[in-house]
């Protein structure tokens, strides 16, 4: 294995972002993949309740977290996502009864691999938000984006 020192660029971008807090060079882009039955509805609920949320995330709706191949998440990073957030039904509440159980194993493995690929752990999170947990969705998306914003846009990446 050849250890290569990280580019100056990376450190500067990182520290700059940290210095300015949530004011990085370009706005961060976070992909949020939500299951149709729980989390998407939960996000709807947050909207209905007018719960203010950060701007930097875009929602992709899928039927179930069980449908999300970890490779899709990696593809999002490869295409330049600054963060990826996945949310589904709480274990046991899956509309398809088992989808999120499979997802839980895959994403836990992914969560542990992401930092290994040189991507800060704060840039990936999987969680569960039910249709009734509007406030929880607001909390989840706000804290996640704060974490990503603190790191700033991704630079000098392998993936």
């Amino acid at each position: 294995m050849t250890v290569v020192a990280s580019s100056q660029q990376t450190q500067e971008a990182g520290s700059a972002a940290l210095a300015e807090g949530a004011g990085p060079a370009r706005p961060i882009k976070v992909v949020a993949i939500l299951c149709n039955w729980c989390s998407y509805a939960g996000a709807d609920g947050a909207g209905t309740a007018r719960l203010v949320q950060p701007y930097g995330f875009r929602v992709v709706r899928v039927p179930c977290t069980g449908r999300v191949d970890p490779l899709l998440v990696l593809k999002a990073f490869e295409k330049g996502a600054d963060g990826v957030l996945i949310s589904g039904c709480h274990p046991g509440d899956c509309h398809y009864s088992e989808g999120n159980y499979y997802a839980r194993r895959k994403f836990e493995l992914l969560r542990r691999m992401v930092p290994h690929l040189g991507i800060e752990p704060e840039r990936f999170r999987y969680t569960w938000v039910s249709a009734s947990e509007a406030a929880r969705w607001q909390e989840v998306v706000t804290t996640f984006l704060a974490g990503v914003a603190a790191l700033g846009p991704r630079e000098g990446r392998a993936l």
């Binding site: 992909v31 709807d44 701007y55 875009r58 992709v60 039927p63 449908r67 509309h95 009864s97």
Partner: protein, 654 residues
């Protein structure tokens, strides 16, 4: 490709924070977008008319509406574009209200975000394909698993509506737990008197077939077309000949525990559970039969006037097809002996369960309705009831309320007085009284006032024998002091647990169940009698503890839902399902391993190869197989991997 984009103001709900007009102008510049306009209320009649006009006049081939959540109006708009001659699946919704205008305040940023949300929707609709529903024939026969009061009720309702119903009951008679009960609360009318006529109705109904002493082994197929293997257990008696005269039962020399009387008495190795059994047919319990154990006897064979005894009888598998399946597998009594050593763990003779007491109270029960202590057969002077044994008790892993104990305890307390006289001391130790039901609260009040039943609020910590009594030590939390009652008889309000084997049956049917083995409804509020497996329904206590009225009510509700399903001759399936590109399938069968609904099957092709094939009508469209297939040759219609990647691409385009 000609895409039309329609941006909704939703009054000020969207336009208040998002510049809908400006958005419409920018959307017009998007690739393949040939028309873009903003509308005040897109879902309104004029709004929909505008969409349909644009489709017809401008020849739009795909439509995007940027408005509220698809959960709100997707169906509305799909219908709208379909009426205008477009395939409904060439429509996409951009949620710029719940996911944008309502959660943001800065007009400029919100508008920018809304624009990207629209871009994503356009990207998705651009790669969308026309989708079509399948239509399949429906088999109108119904299988009801379990012949308790819920199963009987569903079966009768469906049969009266003209459907052919088969009841499969694993015991040798239908009737379930209700048949074991003496009286019912709050009316104190005789349980058997209500139930047995319904049992007979079921037996004689031209549309109902009862398969008693049988179990469901295998279920394949899908809603409208289930194939079921039913295992007819070997009764060692030819039921086509048996006339239920009970002669064999009288002459049989071998004793066996009497399950129907919950162990209070003994019955014979060959037996009929109770006089009103339906069907009234004898069964040999081979494990207790002298002939089967020691190879001599054959008394029953000699005495049987019908020559029905058949020691060679084998169990048989019967295959039947059904369009729908109703789970009515009922309940079991919580096995308190294993979990409550502090209550003697079953070693103290005069500590019995509520169901045993029911049998004792019953005129046709083992004691002929005479209440007595099991230790010395004397009539008890002091009877103590302890509630929540195996209910609302984390320590035994049963946090839930069994919902019937409060009421049947009150009933049994009252009956105790009428059986043993008003001078009998009756105590009830309780946590709370749960009497939410028509006439329930009044009933409990009567027990306390008219019958002078002493209700003590508190848990009993210990039962032990002393001087021929059962000492009941507990605490009265209202007085805040220790109490100790020397009792002659202690009745535990043992709670309700799921029927033995419920979870393995659930796996056979591919329905989900909770940690206690109760079956899971599709939605606790809105789909309480459906399961997540299309065509499988729930009735009675198999879903959660229920009393008789609730079970019967739900049973009829379930019947109605089954009728709704089977009223149609053909079923339309959702087009949002997985499909296999068999030319790329490598036959690794991972999809079969992970599908919760057994939708994928092995299919032999003409070239002799075997590839995966998804049964359209079984697939629920979750996409677990899609995320599992290593070659990605399974795609989920409406949510293809490329459409997801394209949306992500749109988000990340600088």
């Amino acid at each position: 490709m000609r895409i039309g984009v329609f941006i909704c103001h939703c009054g000020t709900n969207i336009a208040g924070t998002v510049d809908s007009r400006g958005l419409a102008e920018r959307a017009a510049e998007l690739k393949d977008v040939v028309h873009s306009e903003d509308l005040m209320y897109t879902c309104s009649e004029p709004g929909q008319a505008a969409i349909q006009r644009a489709i017809k006049e401008l020849g739009l081939t795909r439509v995007v509406v940027a408005a509220c959540s698809p959960h709100m109006h997707e169906v509305t708009f799909r219908r709208c574009v379909e009426e205008a001659g477009l395939n409904p699946w060439l429509f996409e919704m951009a949620n710029i209200r719940e996911h944008c205008s309502w959660i943001h305040t800065d007009m400029e940023k919100a508008t920018e975000k809304a624009y990207e949300i629209v871009k994503m929707a356009v990207a998705k609709v651009r790669v969308a394909e026309p989708l079509f529903s399948e239509e399949v024939d429906v088999n109108k026969d119904v299988l009801v698993i379990g012949g308790g009061v819920a199963g009987i009720q569903t079966a009768l309702d469906l049969a009266d509506a003209g459907l052919k119903v088969t009841i499969v009951e694993r015991r040798s008679t239908i009737g379930g737990v209700m048949a074991q009960l003496d009286k019912t609360f709050p009316t104190i009318d005789c349980s058997a008197c209500i139930l047995t006529p319904r049992m007979v109705d079921a037996a004689h109904h031209e549309n109902i077939a009862i398969m008693a002493y049988s179990e469901v082994d295998r279920v394949s197929g899908y809603v409208g077309n289930f194939k079921v293997d039913i295992r007819r257990k070997a009764a060692m008696v030819d039921w086509t000949k048996c006339i239920g005269c009970e002669l064999c039962m009288q002459k049989c020399p071998s004793q066996a525990p009497d399950v129907f009387n919950s162990g209070l008495a003994e019955t014979k190795a060959i037996y009929i559970p109770f006089p009103q059994a339906v069907p009234k047919r004898a069964v040999i319990q081979t494990e207790y039969c002298r002939w089967f154990q020691q190879g001599k006897c054959r008394v029953c064979e000699r005495v049987c006037p019908a020559g029905a005894i058949d020691y060679e009888q084998k169990e048989e598998i019967v295959q039947r097809d059904f369009g729908a399946i109703v789970m009515a597998t009922g309940l079991d009594v919580f096995p308190w002996q294993e979990h409550y050593p502090q209550y003697g763990g079953g070693q103290i003779q005069d500590v019995i369960s509520g169901l045993q007491y029911e049998r004792m109270l019953n005129a046709s029960g083992p004691t002929g309705g005479h209440v007595h202590r099991l230790s010395n057969h004397e009539e008890p002077k002091t009877v103590v009831f302890i509630q929540c044994v195996g209910s609302r008790d984390e320590s035994v892993g049963r946090p839930y309320c069994s919902s019937v104990c409060c009421m049947y305890t009150a009933k049994q307390a009252i009956l105790t007085k009428s059986h043993c006289g008003m001078d009998t001391e009756v105590y009830v130790f309780y946590i709370d009284i749960r009497a939410a039901g028509k006439g329930y609260e009044e009933f409990v009040k009567r027990a306390q006032t008219e019958y002078d039943v002493k209700y003590v609020r508190g848990r009993v910590s210990k039962l032990y024998e002393e001087g021929g009594k059962v000492m009941v030590r507990g605490v009265d939390t209202l007085l805040g002091e220790q109490v100790e009652v020397p009792a002659d008889l202690v009745v535990l309000a043992s709670g309700i647990t799921s029927a033995d084997g419920a979870s393995s049956l659930a796996q056979t049917l591919n329905i989900s169940y909770d940690e206690y083995g109760f079956y899971k409804e599709s939605h606790p509020k809105l789909r309480p009698v459906e399961t997540n497996t299309a065509g499988v329904f729930l009735a009675g206590a198999c879903q959660s503890p229920k009393d008789i009225p609730t079970s019967v009510a739900q049973a009829s509700g379930t019947a109605a839902k089954v009728l709704v399903l089977l009223a149609k001759d053909k079923l339309k399936t959702s087009p949002l399902i997985a499909t296999v590109d068999q030319s790329r399938c490598v036959s690794c069968w991972k999809c079969l391993n992970v599908c919760p609904f057994s939708a994928p099957e092995k299919q032999e092709l003409r070239d002799g190869s075997t590839k995966s094939h998804v049964i359209e009508t079984v697939c629920q469209g979750c996409g677990i197989c899609v995320a599992t297939c290593p070659v990605n040759c399974i795609s989920l219609k409406g949510f293809t991997t490329d459409s997801v990647i394209d949306q992500i691409e749109e988000v990340l385009l600088a």
